[in-house]
């Protein structure tokens, strides 16, 4: 740099303010807040989460109670709609609004359980593959390649065909399908970290293999993993809804959004809103999570490409 460039005058308070390191969380939040879309997504998904948690108090009716006197009641904006069933009722007389509210619980539960199980198992297998190497690495990598070779939904179908369709088996199937992403991510970033000097230093200092992987290497692999986990929730919700739509997921009368859609397909001509509403709920949830995930990526890792 040229020596004769005049530096702007900076007061000592200003300098102190600039030099003071923000806490990691504050730095992250400042970066995240810049992205308006991400904040919007976070607000929407938090609202959905609150609705899911307090479903019992918010929902006007039970999601599985059948109102025989009001089968396929129209929603409030249609001719003949009434506030009693604000979003109408389906072919069995279930209140759609209540089912959508409880459906948020089911979908978020699926998304979060798939994410947390595949996250934990993925971390364990990925670190194992990276640290032990040789045969263990080969076996883990090959198995993950196999899962990736089968199209996701086909793999899930195979699992459900064997285990039988249910909510729990949906979670198992979708977890198996999304596991390779985590394993590969952890393995790749752990292998990258293992070549770095600080790991060698820790080794020289006598850190044991378990502690080396878990407390030295893992924290440095977390950023991409957190992004993957966030986006993994939306993928899991979509995949589970797809299975539900095919009749292979949660079974009626469980208020799962995909299953609701499938059950009301026959009314697509006469009462389109019964079909339209559950899909809209899926779309809103997935868009909100994807927006948040994109924001997380930009905020957590500036090196990653901004899109």
């Amino acid at each position: 740099m040229a020596a004769d460039v005049a530096l702007p005058a900076v007061s000592s308070e200003e300098a102190a303010e600039v030099l003071a390191q923000p806490t990691p969380l504050a730095a992250f939040w400042a970066a995240f807040r810049e992205n308006r879309g991400a904040v919007f997504g976070l607000v929407v998904i938090s609202t959905i989460a609150l609705i899911a948690i307090f479903a019992n108090f918010i929902a006007p009716h039970s999601p599985i109670e059948q109102f025989r006197d009001a089968v396929r009641a129209p929603p409030i904006w249609e001719q003949g709609g009434a506030w009693r069933y604000a979003l109408g009722t389906d072919g069995d007389g279930h209140d759609t609004l209540s089912r959508l509210i409880f459906g948020a619980r089911v979908s978020l539960f699926i998304g979060l359980s798939v994410m947390s199980v595949s996250f934990v198992v993925g971390v364990v297998l990925g670190l194992l593959a990276a640290s032990v190497g040789s045969l263990v690495d080969v076996i883990i990598t090959r198995v993950m390649d196999l899962i990736m070779a089968v199209p996701s939904l086909v793999m899930a179908i195979l699992v459900v065909a064997v285990l039988g369709p249910s909510l729990a088996n949906t979670i198992v199937a979708v977890t198996i399908v999304y596991l390779p992403r985590y394993v590969r991510l952890v393995r790749a970033s752990a292998l990258g970290e293992l070549t770095k000097d600080y790991v060698t230093a820790a080794r020289v200092a006598g850190v044991g293999p378990l502690r080396l992987m878990v407390s030295t290497v893992l924290p440095n692999c977390l950023a991409p993993l957190i992004v993957q986990a966030a986006l993994g929730v939306s993928d899991a919700i979509l995949e589970a809804a797809g299975l539900g739509f095919l009749g292979l997921g949660a079974q009626a009368p469980t208020p799962e959004w995909g299953t609701m859609l499938a059950d009301s397909r026959e009314f697509i001509r006469s009462d389109p809103w019964i079909v339209a509403l559950p899909g809209l709920a899926i779309l809103i949830a997935v868009v909100a999570i994807n927006l948040t995930g994109d924001g997380l990526r930009d905020a957590l890792d500036p090196r990653m490409r901004r899109t």
Partner: protein, 337 residues
């Protein structure tokens, strides 16, 4: 190059063996008597049971059954469908062209719209068009396509009556030989007037539905890859030379920006087939995905087993070809590792 080729080929062998093992194990894990599962008869007499046990090789040790299974697969015997009593392989190849045709058209749609849109968005970064496109692309790749398909049917087919609701062609009005299995080609060959147009009309909605997710991904990829390329020195040089903006962007920038996009397209076969399962179910499209779902509801396990095996083999094969082509184009890949 040959070394790379052989090494990459060798890598698919264990995957393929594992795949055979999984499909073999899966059908054994299906609850219920294995004979009932595979023969599809209930409450059969002990003699008949013993006959089938022997016939199916179920009286042999498990490892031998597995080897037999592998042996048969490697000789092209993928079992016989319970519901139609035809060979699974024959059935698969009758239906597969329909899936390929749908997937290709969906991908073409996604590329034809996604690449130009992404490129324009990058050039006009921050404009209303850019923001609008990014929003649309976000909705595109977040879309539950089964719902999207139903919505399109609801508006375009039922309300406006512009396009047909389901199937590949109007079977009442058109009847002809299908030598290739690709409806667009067969209708042209048949020479029946209006048949080709009818096939196109049937294809539009399913292709849009299946192409929606790839469209979102491709538009986003093209945009970000284009943004990167536009700041490169050679683009500035091209501009400085006085080339027309169209030439700079269309030839110099876009060509280089497309490399990562092409990779994504090549590796999306698997997700395309997964999407085809849903799309074919919505539009009653007589393809492989629709067939797999039907097999489950009919409890036709041999068809399911063979179908999963064949679909996955196709994916493994295509991924292999993509990798090899990529290695041929990009020396860094083939000498890497």
């Amino acid at each position: 190059m040959l070394v790379y080729f052989l090494r990459r080929l060798a890598l698919t062998v264990p995957t393929f063996i594992a795949l055979m093992f999984v499909t073999f194990a899966a059908i054994r894990l299906v609850p219920g008597d294995p004979v009932e599962v595979r023969v599809g008869e209930h409450g059969i007499s002990p003699e008949r049971l013993a006959y089938f046990r022997h016939q199916l090789g179920l009286d042999l040790p498990v490892w031998q059954q597995f080897l037999d299974y592998c042996w048969r697969l490697l000789h092209g015997d993928f079992g016989v469908s319970l519901s139609t009593q035809t060979k699974v392989l024959t059935e698969f190849f009758t239906l597969f062209p329909a899936t390929v045709e749908l997937s290709l058209c969906a991908m073409l749609f996604a590329i034809a719209v996604g690449v130009p849109a992404g490129a324009v968005a990058a050039v006009k970064r921050g404009s209303v068009f850019d923001q609008g496109l990014m929003t649309i692309s976000l909705f595109g790749y977040s879309m539950p396509i089964f719902w999207w398909g139903l919505l399109l049917i609801m508006f375009v087919s039922v309300k406006l009556e512009w396009l047909p609701v389901s199937g590949r062609i109007d079977l009442i009005n058109y009847y002809f030989d299908q030598p290739t299995g690709f409806m667009l080609i067969d209708t042209l060959l048949s020479g029946e007037s209006g048949a080709f147009l009818d096939a196109v009309r049937h294809l539009i909605l399913p292709a849009i539905v299946l192409g929606t997710v790839p469209l979102g991904v491709i538009a986003r990829m093209t945009r970000s890859s284009m943004l990167e390329v536009l700041s490169e020195d050679y683009v500035r040089t091209a501009r400085a030379k006085g080339l027309s903006p169209f030439r700079v962007i269309g030839v110099h920038a876009l060509r280089n920006a497309l490399l990562p996009v092409v990779t994504v397209i090549g590796l999306s076969v698997s997700s395309l087939l997964a999407g085809a399962v849903l799309t074919e179910t919505i539009f009653s499209w007589p393809g492989v995905g629709h067939w797999l779902i039907e097999s489950i509801s009919r409890r036709d396990y041999p068809a399911l087993q063979g179908g999963v095996m064949l679909v996955s083999t196709v994916v493994i094969g295509v991924n292999l070809v993509v990798d090899l082509v990529y290695g041929a184009i990009n020396p860094r890949i083939r000498h890497g590792r």
